[in-house]
Subunit: 143 residues, 6 copies
């Protein structure tokens, strides 16, 4: 087996969101999501960590050029979510509750193919909503 | 002169906002404030640092009980801005552009009297909008 | 297989402790644990990260309500260790050397059932004793 | 006037302490200091920032050799407080309540002369008790 | 007097440097600067904080547009030092020992006029060489 | 199965490097590595995290004495890379492009046997080149 390495790129974005289930009454949403369901929105400085796995190239000493990784993340994700409203303006979040969990899965789905085309494998999407609350998603594989 | 000490309490809050001047056209707002003027809002995990100055008590070894300081900040500020929309829902921001600069001055004005009543002097309000952008306000005094 | 997500909640606590094996002489304890065996105690601002694993709910977009997770950790752990002496005052550390390793295993044991009852699976207990020293425990399962 | 520069050295130490006024009853101490007065101690990873002010040397481009500054702080302070009990074991805290305020003033008094002998002027002692609570002391001068 | 606010912009750059005085022998340089005088260079991820002071505009709620501040710092400083050798490649460090102190003064001198032209006043240049060592410069004024 | 715990030690080092493949022309190196191939070097404050895995000792409550772990890392790695040029001065990087990926693998190879002799198993080498770019290596095992 070759030498697998894991590269993680950190990117940040600032967005507005609210958490609510449209089928529920306001009371139900408030009970489950509390102040996070505020209809006037609130927001976060989200921190996104994208980890890819790949083989070490003996020639370059790289797995993937970190600039390529950065550009894919910025084009596919950051440009669409930064200074945006996650509920109203992000195509890949349409019809979903704007939880960090749903966001992690949706970002995985946006990135998976593009990273494969760039020659490496998406391994983990991690999002820090605040410094106290973090979500990780490793795809459908066992972890 | 006695021994002046400076105490700083850090509190965090998550809020939505947008930056815009209502008298301007959308084009003007976009030109000056860029993506920060997005009409669908965006948000931040703001970090607020409140610094007070006071004399050291020889008896207790305190300037002000940090729990008192915390409670004043939470009651006067955090409860009103956390998980809120700074433009729409915060009484002390009414009629102002929701810039971090205006927010720092407004928070100063909310806290100054309450802290004086608690026996110490407000010295500085510092807000980190993101880890790259910070605003400090020291009141109208010379600094 | 469903979509497993990992949620991590960070909580902090400040505690006193010392490291020593009661059956050993003071010299042995000093030799193995150095200044950490100081009989007059020392202390840390411990940072606790609790990670749970669970299925994504299609309805709510949640794995577990982060507030529920926070409350379980506070009730079962933080209320018992914060501003406490880990050697003298914490029931679940009785009879154990107050190392971060033992603390991680003990916290796992305190949380495992309560989290299962709340509908998710404890995956990892991580403790930063200082920013340089960290311990992780994943239970008896293979990792 | 020459070019004054400010150098800050960060050092960390882990210590136990409790807050209480010996002349008070247990009830009074508990009322004022809350869980911080726990007789079995608690502790923190304190972060100490020592700022000195001095003239820039045209020859070396230094104000003071940072290693000299580090050694003075370690010898005068860190070696005496790290992994110690601030109430029981630190000579320069004898007879004082172990508050962060008192600690900041006491550290100032320990360092002032030694730094003057090393050719620079102590400007500020800052202590982070936790990431939320910080105390600064600038000596008896106006700031 | 108007309301003065202080804005701080953080920028990072990665650079190589060594500390040495060309007029000295290698032995003297080694004695004063230790491993920092390594002739094969070493490097840091420097963190630069530029603070400006200005009046709050009642119309915009800004002191200076943070993007303007960012662009001035990037053009005048970051583009010249990032991924560079501070001793060999930076015009404004020519003939100076590449200490953080000299760097802070030199960056001040590069920025002062440009910021004045942009309508605000440079107040402080702060550089973190490492998380333990920081230098601040406030110009020739009293602070 | 016994109780496996994971201990992580953080150490920092400051080093110069450049990225380039000697067999390539300057143009090729510039195209692939950009400003990171600057022939005059640049540098970073690297953060190294070494994770070991081992059984919990019922007697001591330790997996490995953290001081032993620290000493092995300092002797084998930090003393050789801190304030050094990774391309020119580090024996275990000879003949390799000084990428963070190659560095992670090389550090693994330097530590693996020494840690086994000390009674625990190397589990992960993680290096933060900057706060945005991180590499992890888990050896040739599946992860």
């Amino acid at each position: 087996m070759g030498q697998k390495l894991y590269l993680t790129r950190r990117e940040k974005f600032s967005a507005a969101h609210r958490m609510y289930v449209p089928e529920w009454t306001d009371e139900q949403n408030l009970e489950v999501f509390g102040k996070c369901s505020n209809p006037n929105w609130h927001g976060h400085d989200y921190v996104l960590y994208v980890t890819v796995r790949g083989d070490l190239s003996g020639e370059t000493g790289l797995v993937i050029n970190m600039n390529v990784l950065k550009e894919i993340i910025r084009e596919k994700i950051i440009d669409k979510v930064d200074h945006r409203n996650l509920n109203l303006e992000v195509d890949f979040m349409k019809g979903m509750n704007a939880t960090t969990e749903n966001l992690a899965v949706a970002i995985w789905n946006e990135l998976e193919e593009a990273l494969k085309s760039a020659g490496c494998e998406l391994y983990c999407v991690k999002i820090e909503e605040t410094e106290n609350n973090t979500v990780e998603y490793y795809g459908k594989k066992d972890h």
